[in-house]
């Protein structure tokens, strides 16, 4: 008896899911761009709220899919915010993406359960902020590094924890539901 061992993914469903996640990410990206200047952050730096979507998709959509969503969101940012502001956010985003991939897929920390998505989220937020700071310094050519660093590190713990807990609670359910939807 021949049984196909690989299930074909329900493509239309997959596309819808990509769509929903991308729009969520874009939505969050837009909302955070409304905040004029975060106290104690360098001008142009953002909170990195859309990273939570990317992280979520990394847990069940895999690297390629998440990359797509990340690029979609970044393209939107580029088109609406202008090149220079985009560069800072994008550097942060790339760093956060890379770190999240490493933590989730490579190495034992997450896989063996030493840290949860909250930990990944915190580290990802920290990298996001540090990369934004570095980008700001390079782009403007001035050195405000030391002035902003402490606040940005602290802020990443706070934001990372909040988004991390939300992810901890929601990711498993999303993963299951998504699996059911995609592999039908």
């Amino acid at each position: 008896m021949n049984k196909s061992t690989k299930q074909k993914p329900n493509y239309p469903m997959l596309i819808s899911i990509y769509g929903i996640l991308s729009s969520l990410a874009i939505c969050l990206s837009y909302l955070e761009s409304l905040i004029p200047q975060i106290p104690f952050f360098p001008p142009g730096a953002k909170l990195g709220l859309s990273n939570v979507i990317i992280l979520l998709s990394l847990t069940f959509l895999g690297i390629k899919g998440s990359l797509f969503i990340f690029l979609a969101k970044s393209l939107f940012a580029l088109l609406t915010r202008g090149v220079f502001a985009f560069l800072i956010g994008f550097s942060g985003g790339v760093g956060a993406f890379a770190v999240s991939v490493i933590l989730l897929y490579v190495g034992r920390l997450y896989k063996r359960g030493y840290i949860s998505l909250a930990g990944v989220s915190i580290i990802s937020a920290a990298v996001f902020n540090v990369f934004q700071l570095i980008a700001a310094v390079i782009v403007t050519g001035t050195n405000f590094l030391s002035a902003y660093l402490p606040f940005m590190l602290f802020a990443s713990v706070v934001s990372g924890l909040i988004t991390g807990i939300i992810l901890n609670l929601s990711a498993p359910t999303v993963k299951k539901s998504a699996a059911k939807l995609i592999l039908r």
């Binding site: 004029p36 200047q37 360098p42 001008p43 142009g44 915010r81 202008g82 090149v83 220079f84 502001a85 920390l109 359960g113 030493y114 840290i115 949860s116 998505l117 909250a118 930990g119 915190i122 580290i123 920290a126 782009v139 403007t140 050519g141 001035t142 405000f144 030391s146 002035a147 660093l149 402490p150 606040f151 590190l153 602290f154 990443s156 713990v157 990372g160 924890l161 991390g164 807990i165 901890n168 609670l169």
Partner: protein
């Protein structure tokens, strides 16, 4: 007692490693705070304008009695900064997003206003530590 807290946290999915990471980062942020340059007390307050990383103007904000506006033209693009006693602000710029103008007045030490498209960075240096006063009676 710590174990009890941990199990409480576990309900939110928090693991030991998470807590350790959070603590490390908080520690790092405090260390960074110690190593960052302390703000000076009572030196003269200056607004420094950098273009592409190089200082192109330095205005003593303490000695301004009458506010004035100064235009800068760089690579064909124009920006105007209004200097007042103790503060400065972008009031015009040829950039597209006008974030610098939206930033408004800056007056505290290390406060910055940036116009990325024009490669301009306006930073406040020196000046008395912002004592959070709304006005001074003299």
């Amino acid at each position: 007692m710590i174990k009890d807290r941990l199990t409480e946290l576990n309900k939110a999915g928090i693991k030991k490693g998470d807590v350790i990471i959070a603590l490390i980062l908080v520690l790092a942020s405090f260390l960074a705070l110690l190593y960052s340059p302390g703000s000076s007390d009572s030196t003269e307050k200056y607004a420094i304008l950098y273009h592409k990383g190089e200082e192109i103007d330095r205005i003593n904000l303490d000695s301004i009695d009458n506010p004035y506006e100064k235009p800068y033209i760089l690579n064909g693009l124009k920006a105007i900064i209004r200097y007042e006693k103790g503060s400065a602000a972008f009031i015009y710029s040829d950039c597209r997003d006008k974030l610098c103008i939206e930033r408004g007045q800056i007056k505290g030490q290390a406060d910055a206003s940036v116009c990325l498209p024009l490669n301009l960075v306006l930073i406040i240096e020196g000046g008395e530590r912002e004592k959070d006063m709304d006005a001074v009676v003299y």
